[in-house]
Symmetry: C2
Subunit: 472 residues, 2 copies
Amino acid sequence: MNREALSSEHSDKLFERIYDYVLERILRGEWKAHEKLPSVRALAAEFRVHRLTVFKAYQLLKQNQKVYVKDKSGYFVHPGNRLSVETRQDPIISAYVQESHLSEIHQVQAAYKLSKAVLDPNLLPNLYFSEYVKQVFDLYPKVLGTYSTTQGDQELRERLCRYFVDHFHFDLTADELLITTGSQEAIDLLARVMVKPRDVVMLERPTYSPAIDVFRRQGAVLLAVEIGKEGYDLERVEELMRKYRPRLFYVNPTFHNPTGYTIPAEQRKRLVEIAHRHHCLLVEDDLYRDIYFGKEPPLPLFTYDTTGTVIYLRSFSKYIAPGLSIGTVACRPAIMKLLVRAKSLTDSGAPLLNQKIFLHYFFSRRLQQHLDKLRIALAVRKEIVEAELAATDWTWISPEGGFNLWVKLPEEVPMDQLLEKSIEQSITFVPGLICDPLRGHQSWVRLSYSYLNEQQLREGIQKLIRVYDTLK
Amino acid sequence: MNREALSSEHSDKLFERIYDYVLERILRGEWKAHEKLPSVRALAAEFRVHRLTVFKAYQLLKQNQKVYVKDKSGYFVHPGNRLSVETRQDPIISAYVQESHLSEIHQVQAAYKLSKAVLDPNLLPNLYFSEYVKQVFDLYPKVLGTYSTTQGDQELRERLCRYFVDHFHFDLTADELLITTGSQEAIDLLARVMVKPRDVVMLERPTYSPAIDVFRRQGAVLLAVEIGKEGYDLERVEELMRKYRPRLFYVNPTFHNPTGYTIPAEQRKRLVEIAHRHHCLLVEDDLYRDIYFGKEPPLPLFTYDTTGTVIYLRSFSKYIAPGLSIGTVACRPAIMKLLVRAKSLTDSGAPLLNQKIFLHYFFSRRLQQHLDKLRIALAVRKEIVEAELAATDWTWISPEGGFNLWVKLPEEVPMDQLLEKSIEQSITFVPGLICDPLRGHQSWVRLSYSYLNEQQLREGIQKLIRVYDTLK
């Protein structure tokens, strides 16, 4: 490399540093709308660079509508920046934009909650639970008087560890497992421990909406990568990792939420290798693994991990007992230490009673019977929704597992209006843009078939189609 | 005020801004040990101030060992700053210093856990719980199949609300209550919702150690105020509030942890008024209210609040059923909305089973019987510890409630060594400095009498005294 190239690369970096420096303060609201920015001269002095470099950064900021020029008195903060989306050329967006508030849709009272990716309580093994609870009290009479350790009950971690080793060939010890209050807490803890403001976090597009909110709140810069029915474009993934050095990539490779896609087995090992090469952690959220309608899904990414690249999140309570709120994280000791410390400042571990009830049910023969029935019931419900939609020109890829149908509406109906009119008819659904870190997928919706019974699903979908028809 | 005074005040502010600007980056580790700092000229240009102002800021930073001067080449970051305590004249300290890791002391295996402010499981009403659990399953057969709302079970919130209104004259509705996974989660959520980096948070000195960690991790600047057996010096509190405009003051006014002090009734109303006047929220942690040995403690601060100044945290599970992990927060709707949103990204509400069991036990007649017995048992244990200590020249104020004795050792024994030697003898305790945001109280220890039985307490204290005697 000759000297000129070196110097030009060096100047590029400085340029980028100044661009980011200014933009960061604007996005964080430290420098407010219409506030005067430091002069070119002052910034040049501070960064010890040529004034032209600062000038160029300001020009690009102006072009991207981050700043404006007034008369000859200098640069000022463009209004409205705090809430806007920063794209440049790549699908990278800045944090500090508004949250999606899926939780607010969930709070709407409605008869047809197609928004709810939660299991119908009638499909749960309610009848048996009081038996297991009795068993737990007989075995551990002081269970309610005892705190669990922060990391989680030793007995449960040992049994779960054996389960993961036996079923998925994990290379794992019980000390590498943490018990959490569901997998939402796991994502939250990981974000707090691994992500600092301005760190880059890679997300699938679309993805699980609360994950977007959690990483955003942490101040992360979000980087989106498409997930399709054939999986990822791994060359694109590698290019983005090389270019932006994301701290982690949050993936949901099995019956993906919201699309239902499953990353093929042959991509899994390669993804782990690529991430390892670029020092990017893979956070694998494996919530729907047991909910398959045809054959079992491919092995988790964690199975292929020999280098501590993958952090594995598995929640069980979603389809066993939501009231127990039990999730688990598998990861290597260095990260585990950070997670346990963070959890100790949040609570003193998942309630022991819940862990023990879960343990006794999960390792009983009844679980298998429950799952067999559950898969059939959900497949039937999914088919009901698909049968209703068959009469429309809406399109979707039939999922082979999970709780959701990811549907594209043929015409650009204003989503706000569709949601509003639907709520008037006592129907809720999840607008696609809430699941997209880039706020695209404007004409997509997520319809969950897990919560309503057959009759309600039929009625709800028919009503939704009628609402749509009145708007198009 | 003449023009000169105005200008000098203006220059003071600029001076402070530059001092803080440099210090903040050093403490955050953005500017690392031995790294060269921006020149006086560059900073003067950036802040548009006279070079003398920057020079003065650097001189004070040098004096306070934050930076050093090398030859004539400029200012450099002094090593070791990230972990040091920043005091200037007032008891204000910067964040980003090491955490205290009380949790690590708790992880030590020991026969005599005088560090553990947790109830002896044998003192809990274990026998009755299975009965309440059965009752809950009979009443709500689908309890394990159902998520609670994020804010907490409506029935529980209504009953608790009535309890607070009846007993403590709270002006409260059920919508102003949040159910949390113990009060640790409540502190954590509040810190995340109310405190941004560089916000000032006021703490008692000493205080509950994990609270220090939580606010520190949030990037807060900590401001400490003494708590004594007569309460606070309210003039000092007001002076600090006026000067530093803290976002909130975390207080533990009733059988305070670790000291056992109780703020007198006549100070409570005044504190609420002062805090209101200075727009400082009071976060009242009321965990030991029911554990009194003599007469009932004065009413909570929340009782005196008519302006939304107090946020009230109450945990019950500590002395009822740690395994249930139930706590509650009372606050006004604006803050409640933020808390519920933050909680929705952490979990989907405390597990419903735990909430229902708690409800049925808490409002049964058995609770009162349990509390009556518990108060006697704890008073006896406290007296045992005091009887053993009577033979020494250690000093303490006998607490009228709570789980802890706050003890001053007469000679400056190196605390590290005392803890180390104690652990060798299978004894743990909490060193005072862990409870002090300013890392003072070097010769104080917190001894909890809640976890060990009479015999263990006697032996543990005797052994601890012997370890101390070998070191002095």
